[in-house]
Amino acid sequence: MNWQPSASLASLREAARLRRSIRSWMERQQVLEVLTPSLSRAAATDPHVLSMATDDGRYLHTSPEFPMKRLLAAHACIAAQTHGDSVLPTQLQLPELSDCPDIYQIATVFRSEESGRFHNSEFTLLEWYRVGMDHLQLIEDMSSLLKHVWLAFDKPWPGLETRRYGEEVHRRLGLWPEQLDTGTIEQYFLAAGRSYPQAIADDVDAALDLFMDEFVMPEFAADAFTVLMDYPVSQSALARLGQDDDGRAVAQRFELYFGRTELANGFHELSDAAIQRERFEADLHKRDALDVARVPLDENLLQALETGLPDCAGVALGLERLHMAVAQHTHISEVISFDDQRA
């Protein structure tokens, strides 16, 4: 047993400063702070994001995404009603949008079986949604927030570089993600003398995950930001589909990295309820294939999408990792008062 905290007092002061700087930026940007429940009867379906179940049959949330989208849909609905029946919630224009505010939340979230230098099963997400923005505008928005935080810590702006998922894959493998099979990726690992787990079997996305971590992320600028965008369609999660500059189908999804550490994941949000339901079902099938327990779909979210989610983009950013980046900590336990081992 160890009753002492894992973070120093200085580190806790940094964490407080970080949250203060975020709240001041959000206030200046007129983004409304909201709170949504941590417990839900439904759970995230992602096969690789595991919810913790409580003994009353509910789940601790892994991100506040679903209820926040329900708020956006509800606010848009009210705004549309205020401005007459001719306006659909999804087609809101200024000034109607002022009745459907941007929202943010600093939420404690829980993910089972995640622990390591950059993982603690309980951690903090900053999640925010911008109505009327797409993922590209949201990258700019996020970059403005990051600059504000770096300023609050008296740190020079480290710079932000953008890379495209497909191009990173194509440059090394000569193929685009949608053309790959696991055999091609395995050959690349073997040629590079790297270990490749046979257990990946025919899961191309799992092979791509490891490929990115082994070969692409190590080339990201060490102490600067990288945004990886234009994800493969197979990894679209809750993002809309679109086209890259060459007309190839891609997911309008991005991730933010500091060095090679993932800090945030953002989407131009999918608002089509039917497609969303298909993706949920596909996730459940993948769970079956991976022998991961099924979870109840969030029918409330699907209903909200049917009513109409305003065109928006949202991003979830891990605050502990942001803290590690801005204050140069090397282990997540250094920025959490009591880490998993002491909680």
Partner: protein, 188 residues
């Protein structure tokens, strides 16, 4: 035989890989936020001593290796085998050259060693971290030279060669760190 899941991995865990016993040197949890989790490890092959990188998909399980570290007292060498005794059971075991390896340079005086047993047979021998030995042969000492920081080779009874400070004389007893093979101090 028991199995270990990747979430039980930790430094020192003994597992079977490709038919050989291995010890986990270090492990790192790798997971993209929305993607497949992996455990990247560095493992030492306990037969060859080679350290390699090995990546597992999270949730994979591997067979445990029947490997045990036991404290045993060194008895003697017959030239071909090195003989050890368990000080509690008085059981004796003979380790061959492959198992003893470089540890042979530090084996003397009933030293208590860590003997790694695989299926009951000695696989590796780790000498005590520090041993005391008498210098068999070295160049004459430069009396009073304790400041220049220079060194000279000194030959031990076991055949080990250790760099010692210039003021050390033949026949003196010194303390050696076996992990680095470096001179630590004189023994009065």
């Amino acid at each position: 035989m028991a199995n270990y899941g990747t979430n039980e991995f930790k430094g020192g865990l003994k597992i079977m890989l490709d038919g050989d016993p291995h010890s986990i040197v270090s492990n790192e949890f790798v997971k993209p936020g929305k993607g497949q989790a992996f455990t990247r490890t560095r493992v030492r092959n306990l037969k060859t001593g080679r350290v390699v990188e090995r990546t597992f998909k999270s949730g994979e399980s591997v067979e445990s290796a029947d490997v045990m570290d036991t404290s045993m007292q060194y008895l003697y060498s017959d030239g071909e085998h090195w003989h050890f005794m368990n000080p509690e059971t008085f059981e004796q075991l003979a380790a061959d050259k492959t198992a003893v390896g470089d540890a042979a340079l530090w084996l003397m005086d009933e030293a208590v060693c860590e003997v790694t047993l695989y299926n009951g047979q000695p696989l590796a021998v780790t000498p005590p971290n520090f041993v005391e030995m008498t210098i068999k042969e070295t160049d004459p000492g430069l009396r009073g030279d304790t400041a220049t920081g220079g060194t000279k080779p000194a030959h031990m009874e076991t055949g080990a060669v250790v760099k010692v400070p210039l003021f050390i004389e033949e026949g003196e007893r010194i303390k050696i760190d076996t992990r680095t093979g470096e001179y630590v101090s004189r023994v009065k």
